[in-house]
């Protein structure tokens, strides 16, 4: 059974995002076991640079239109489902990001509704693709098979090592679609993002997260941000601090925030609610610092240190800097 696979590329206007390279890795693995082939689908406006970047990894289909300048689900989903039908793709993959979680299910419904979210493992058994998907905030994993074709999946970036460039430039093909495909009733009014010099929690090798122990934004920045900087990592947060307005939304790690698996996760003053653990428990090494020796975060930690984060963090930063401990990004 050879499978024709397309990966929806998420990009920042110049290059493909890392999470999409993990989705590509999933697709390449599925293609290898089925004798299939993989293409990218790059969507946007004036995305030649993105197409060139994507072509380092796999052949590229591009739909470039002013109607795709901003990521609005209606035209994006219709473009995806149209291309999938026209080209006869049997498997559609994308990263588990808010971009894909908005758009890809809408396309999936236009393609018959056979969709699995947040795939963390796959296996071809008797010609059927078995997919592991986390449920109940990751407490349980369900192994599923999708009925119908095409199959649509989002892939959790932390579960697949990013695909590597192949060393050749693959083909780039521009697709022309009917104007009706791009029609859109909504309008985009803007994006408010916090400019942040630190890497995103989904892309960093080290993530330092703060929890309820931090009383205000200044303390959070000084301790959590300071330790992140000392390790060349990203700053993250528990839901409690985001709800309290102490940390910005996009830092939230958890079931309903970002789900990550960095090489090192350092939880400062985080008690370890189930919904937070869902976002970080697959990290390679987990360090917890908390004043409560009974905090559930210690149950998932490799290294635990009981104490006041306001005392421990400055000491840790100082000693790390004097020992020059740090990971490059």
């Amino acid at each position: 059974m050879s499978m024709r696979i397309v990966v929806v590329a998420e990009h920042d206007g110049t290059a493909v995002r890392g999470a999409s390279l993990s989705a590509l890795a999933f697709a390449q693995s599925a293609a290898a076991t089925t004798g299939g082939e993989v293409s990218w689908l790059v969507l946007g406006h004036q995305v030649d640079a993105v197409a060139q970047d994507a072509a380092r990894f796999a052949p590229v289909l591009v739909v470039d239109s002013p109607a795709l300048e901003h990521p609005i689900a209606e035209p994006f989903a219709r473009v995806i489902s149209t291309v999938v039908k026209e080209r006869g793709f049997e498997l559609v993959a994308a990263a588990s990001s808010t971009f894909a979680k908005d758009i890809v299910p809408r396309a999936a419904a236009q393609l018959g509704g056979a969709m699995a979210s947040d795939v963390v493992r796959h296996e071809l058994v008797d010609g059927r693709l078995q997919l592991d998907t986390p449920r109940y905030a990751g407490a349980v994993t369900a192994t599923v098979v999708l009925q119908g074709s095409p199959q649509i999946v989002t892939v959790r970036g932390s579960a697949y090592v990013a695909a590597q460039p192949t060393g050749e430039a693959h083909s780039v093909e521009r697709l022309e679609l009917d104007a009706a495909v791009f029609s859109c009733r909504g309008s985009y009014e803007g994006l408010k993002s916090k400019q942040n010099a630190r890497p995103d929690v989904t892309e960093a090798r080290v993530v330092v997260s703060g929890g309820r122990a931090f009383k205000n934004a200044e303390d959070f920045e000084q301790h959590v941000g300071g330790l992140a900087d000392a390790l060349g990592g990203a700053a993250g947060s528990s839901r409690a601090l985001v709800d309290a307005g102490i940390a910005p939304n996009e830092l939230q790690v958890g079931q309903t925030g970002k789900i990550i698996a960095p090489e090192v996760y350092i939880a400062l003053g985080i008690s370890g609610a189930v919904q937070h653990l869902a976002g970080m428990k697959n990290s390679r090494t987990i360090v917890a610092v908390n004043s409560d020796p009974e905090a559930p975060i210690f149950d998932v930690a490799d290294y635990g240190l009981v104490g006041d984060v306001y005392k421990i963090t400055p000491e840790l930063i100082e000693k790390l800097e004097s020992h020059a401990v740090g990971l490059s990004r």
Partner: protein, 251 residues
């Protein structure tokens, strides 16, 4: 203004959830059902919109499930829903079939707005709202953290990986709700008393005329366990040492 709020009931996920020993399901019989927290947020938002309009606008809560789902729908009515619809169905449904059933309810009720949770905290699929929007060919805004009603339109702030994005959509539309949209109220005693008199229609699933088409076949469940070292350290120096050794740190 007519607002439809589809809900799902889920086992109370504050409790520990495990797979059954034979992998055929999830051991949830001992857990109480609650309205999916994201759907409670959608319901709260619908109630607030209607309270603000102060006219004959309605919020209709919908549930699909076994007959005793009416208990959770009574809670929705006590929180302020105007009326409720229970689609009685003893089969476990995947998002595709839920969306197809909801589409039939929407065609019957003709709401101006569908407000629902961005995901249910049992299967965490995050699909049904988008599926429904596609099946209806309505505009959608997912992951709403703020909703503002305009004349014939809705403005929605959306939580994305890269910040807060603002969209304006004409109605009717589907909006899915994120955590920070609001804090749902608890049902008051007065609300609970009023709820007893509010209309709650029970519709057998067959009446909707949808032939169910499974799309997701679950082969088995297993509990997720990761083994951790669980080493308690005594000092910051020990932690620095571990970070140096284990983390491939550059000395």
């Amino acid at each position: 203004m007519k607002i439809l709020v589809p809900t799902k009931r889920v086992p109370d996920t504050d409790q520990k959830i495990t797979a059954t020993a034979d992998g055929s399901g999830v051991a949830s019989d001992h857990l109480p059902f609650v309205v999916n927290p994201f759907d409670a947020i959608a319901l709260e938002e619908g109630v607030r919109i209607v309270e603000k309009l102060g006219d004959d606008s309605e919020v209709i809560a919908v549930g699909i499930g076994e007959a005793d789902y009416v208990q959770q729908l009574r809670t929705a009515l006590a929180m302020g829903a105007t009326r409720a619809i229970c689609v009685e169905c003893n089969q476990s449904l995947d998002p595709w079939n839920v969306a197809r059933l909801l589409k039939e309810i929407v065609l019957r009720e003709k709401p101006d707005l569908v407000l629902m949770g961005k995901q249910a905290v049992d299967d965490d699929a995050n699909q049904t709202g988008q599926f429904l929007a596609a099946l209806l060919d309505w505009p959608q805004a997912t992951f709403a953290s703020r909703v503002e009603l305009l004349a014939g339109e809705i403005r929605v702030d959306r939580e994305t990986d890269h910040g807060i994005e603002t969209l304006r959509l004409p109605l009717p539309a589907v909006v899915t709700t994120d955590l920070r949209l609001n804090e749902p109220r608890y049902a008051s005693m007065a609300g609970i008393m009023k709820a007893k008199k509010k209309p709650l229609d029970v519709i057998p699933v067959a009446e909707l005329g949808v032939a169910l088409e499974p799309r997701v076949e679950v082969l088995r469940y297993h509990s997720s366990e990761t083994v951790r070292r669980g080493e308690r350290l005594r000092s910051v120096d020990e932690l620095v040492e571990r970070l140096r050794q284990d983390v491939g740190a550059q000395a």
